[in-house]
């Protein structure tokens, strides 16, 4: 197998493929990256750890068909460091030789016949703009649990009903829900998928920024390729195994009636929370007291350092004292993607809802909702 390709193109593709390689592979061969020049002169780079697969298809300047498996991590480090010149990749017996300018590397190859074949993509289900998708996934994945002992909460739930996709994630302490439109292949397409949150966020980010569309491959309920979701865009495709679709019945948990509402400029709110949170330890609350047209933010206690700050607020409703984990509040404020943050409450022990700014139409359900559970203070 031989190919020649531009250094930047190769380095970027290798780096993207190497992302999904396992850090501690269960079988040594899974640390490898598979490189193949097909009969029609295409170069395919792929990686797979039985959960996530990634494959890039490139057009090399020249090539002779063949396939080889080399250490993915090493190849990524080498290509990143190569000078900006064409790269020649030649397989010679059990060795692969990478030449670029005056640099030359000899790599050991791994037994490609032991490498698992990549899972087939499920049938294409629809398309969505990569930037919109990346933004929406980022807004929701922030609320996904990071605790692997509760796998059900580490996922992002994707519900597809025709042209509407609803993404939802919760770690029990907050819940983020985003609705968006997409272009399904079939107008009446329906599916539910629990995608591992971290993988989805990485994938969406890696496919975003190109302005191209992402094709989502997912079988409808009972269809072939169930248990798998695929994303592809501009020559890159990735698949990941789905989690158990079990998820809390979250819609009934989202309150729809409130006794108070506060609109606060997002930037100054974030600044103020960050400042008072300096005296709050991890997992300790920032207390908010809404009174008329101002909110008093406080953190810390009499035994330790204390901080207090007052912000003007556009407030409507009954005065309320409520406390939140400052990290949860800040992550929510970072996700709403709006100049004005709207907080809505019922009581100090009931969920509060954070949304971005004034909805165009008062009363309409906003596209993005971030529910946050308060911290109950001992009286």
């Amino acid at each position: 197998m031989i190919f020649r390709i531009d250094r930047d193109v190769l380095a970027e593709a290798v780096a993207w493929t190497a992302r999904s390689l396992p850090a501690r592979p269960s079988v040594p061969v899974l640390a490898g990256m598979r490189l193949e020049v097909t009969d029609d002169q295409q170069l395919k780079l792929s990686g797979f750890d039985y959960e996530v697969s990634a494959e890039v298809t490139l057009e090399p300047q020249s090539g002779e068909p063949g396939v080889v498996l080399v250490s993915g991590k090493l190849l990524a480090e080498i290509t990143r460091a190569l000078p900006a010149q064409p790269v020649d990749f030649v397989v010679d017996g059990a060795k692969a030789v990478v030449t670029c300018g005056s640099a030359r590397f000899t790599l050991l190859t791994m037994p490609v016949e032991d490498y698992p074949s990549l899972p087939a993509m499920p049938p294409a289900a629809g398309r969505i703009g990569s930037d919109v998708f990346a933004g929406a996934v980022g807004q929701v994945a922030v609320a996904a649990g990071k605790d692997d002992t509760l796998p059900m909460l580490t996922g992002v739930r994707m519900e597809i009903e025709g042209d509407t996709v609803t993404l939802a994630a919760t770690d029990r302490y907050r819940l983020a829900v985003r609705e968006l439109k997409w272009h399904p292949e079939q107008p009446d397409f329906q599916a539910i998928a629990m995608v591992p949150g971290r993988t989805l966020a990485d994938t969406a980010k890696a496919l975003g920024g190109t302005g191209a569309e992402v094709e989502i491959a997912l079988s409808s309920v009972g269809g072939t390729g169930e248990g798998m979701i695929g994303f592809s865009s501009s020559g890159r495709r990735t698949t990941t195994r789905l989690l158990d679709p079990e998820f809390p019945k979250y819609r009934s948990l989202l309150p729809t009636e409130f006794s108070a509402r506060a609109d606060i400029p997002t930037a100054s709110f974030v600044e103020a929370v960050k400042r008072v949170a300096l005296v709050a330890e991890r997992n300790t609350p920032v207390r908010l007291a809404f009174r008329g047209d101002e909110v008093v933010l406080e953190a810390g206690s009499g035994d330790e350092a204390q901080a207090v700050e007052v912000l003007p607020v556009d407030f409507d409703g009954d005065d309320i004292n409520i406390a939140f984990n400052h990290q949860f509040l800040l992550e929510g404020l970072g996700a709403i993607d709006s100049d004005v943050a709207r907080l809505q409450f019922t009581t100090s022990t009931k969920p509060a809802i954070l949304t971005g700014g004034k909805p165009v139409d008062e009363g309409a359900t906003p596209d993005y909702r971030y529910l946050i559970m308060p911290i109950r203070l001992s009286s």
């Binding site: 919760t170 302490y173 809390p248 203070l377 001992s378």
Partner: protein
């Protein structure tokens, strides 16, 4: 008026610290119910192959029996001894009463164990007289009210007081005058010093330092070079300096329970059942003490005595058995010991703080009243109807006797 212990008459000005230590505590309490055993060797501890000596009368100690010794060995050393299984409730009751006597003298009482405490009587002098008189009064009151004896060390610092009480045991009183500390200490072996365990002792002996007097001769800088920060501590102790105050209440750093199986167990189901029982006990103790803890740890000892502990810090502090048990099971499952023969398991909750100050992160869809309330109701039922009133179904044993059918 002073009981025996000639040291009681020494100069006790400048000696406000008392160390009170019950003599052979558990054994002495048992003798109250078995007066016929007085003057004979008695050992308290579980009799089985796995039992250890918890306490032994001085008659038994003469044969070399001491606490923490395996019961099998103790019985070999002293075959004539009467072995009494422990009944902790009885000891706790006497212990509480004794601590109350101390607290009636001064609030500055620092319990070290159920059978020993430090007292700072500096503030009680005007009311009750000099420290030696107070010490004698304590010994009298304990003997009168509970029929057991204790030994009291009176000194200027905690560690000297503790050494003094040890030296005048049993049923003694010893005052180490403030200007006599050095003379008292220097003939003692280095192992007597607080913080000198087997390793440090060996290291000291290698340097030719055998007695506290030897140690006092060594320049601090040399000790610091050899032992780091501990060196300065050793030098201070060798001169009788111990700045630790009597702290009336040291909050618990952790609450835990452990259980040695009568026979090694490798059935994961049986081990989980034991974890549940221990979790219930630990949670009840947490609630009784008004504390919550964030770190749960599990101790697993294999039949060859190798021991591992695994711990996990929870998001939220807890005093709920269900949560402690769930975490314990996860730790056990992750330990890779689920098919290993185990001798002992333990459950412990660390990172404690008062339950009252704990702000609680509410979670989605959580009911206003949950397991915590259920377990508080269990506490109430148990207080009223006894320890077996309510417990998890998997811990209910079938009736042991043959059933009449």
């Amino acid at each position: 008026m002073l009981p025996q212990g000639g040291g009681g008459l020494a100069d006790d000005s400048g000696c406000p610290i008392l160390h009170v230590d019950m003599d052979a505590f558990f054994a002495s309490v048992e003798l109250l119910d078995r007066p016929e055993l007085r003057g004979r060797p008695v050992i308290v501890g579980a009799a089985g192959a796995r039992g250890v000596v918890l306490s032994a009368t001085y008659e038994a100690r003469r044969f070399g029996v001491h606490s923490a010794m395996p019961m099998t060995r103790a019985v070999r050393l002293c075959p004539r001894a009467t072995v009494i299984p422990p009944s902790h409730g009885k000891y706790a009751e006497v212990s509480r009463g004794v601590m109350e006597i101390f607290r009636s003298i001064t609030p500055e009482v620092e319990p070290v164990a159920s059978d020993e405490a430090f007292l700072d009587v500096g503030g009680a002098r005007r009311r009750l007289g000099p420290p030696a008189a107070i010490a004698a009064m304590i010994r009298e009151q304990v003997a009168e009210r509970y029929g057991i004896t204790c030994s009291v060390g009176v000194a200027s610092s905690k560690f000297v007081a503790k050494l003094a009480s040890r030296q005048c045991k049993p049923d003694g009183l010893l005052v180490v005058p403030a200007d006599g500390v050095v003379e008292f200490l220097h003939p003692l072996p280095v192992a007597a010093l607080w913080g000198v365990g087997e390793r440090t002792e060996q290291a000291l002996v290698r340097l030719g330092i055998r007695t506290v007097g030897d140690l006092a001769q060594v320049p601090v800088s040399t000790l610091q070079r050899e032992f780091g920060a501990v060196g300065a501590h050793l030098a201070a102790l060798a001169c009788g300096r111990d700045e630790r105050p009597v702290v009336p209440h040291t909050p618990d750093k952790s609450i835990g329970n452990e259980e040695t199986f009568p026979h090694d167990v490798d059935d994961p189901e049986a081990i989980r059942r034991e974890l549940l029982r221990l979790s219930e006990r630990v949670a009840a103790r947490l609630r009784a003490s008004g504390q919550v803890g964030r770190t749960v740890s599990v101790k697993l000892r294999r039949s060859d005595f190798t021991t591992i502990t695994r711990s996990r810090t929870l998001r939220e502090a807890t005093d709920v058995a269900k949560e402690i048990f769930a975490t314990s099971c996860e730790l056990f499952a992750a330990s890779g010991m689920d098919r290993v023969r185990l001798r002992l398991v333990g459950v412990r909750v660390e990172n404690l703080r008062p339950a009252g100050t704990a702000a609680r992160q509410l979670s989605l869809g959580e009911r206003e009243t949950g397991w915590r309330e259920a377990e508080q109701a269990m506490d109430k039922a148990i207080r009223r109807f006894g320890p077996d009133a309510v417990r998890p179904a998997s811990l209910v044993r079938p009736p042991s006797g043959p059933m009449d059918l």
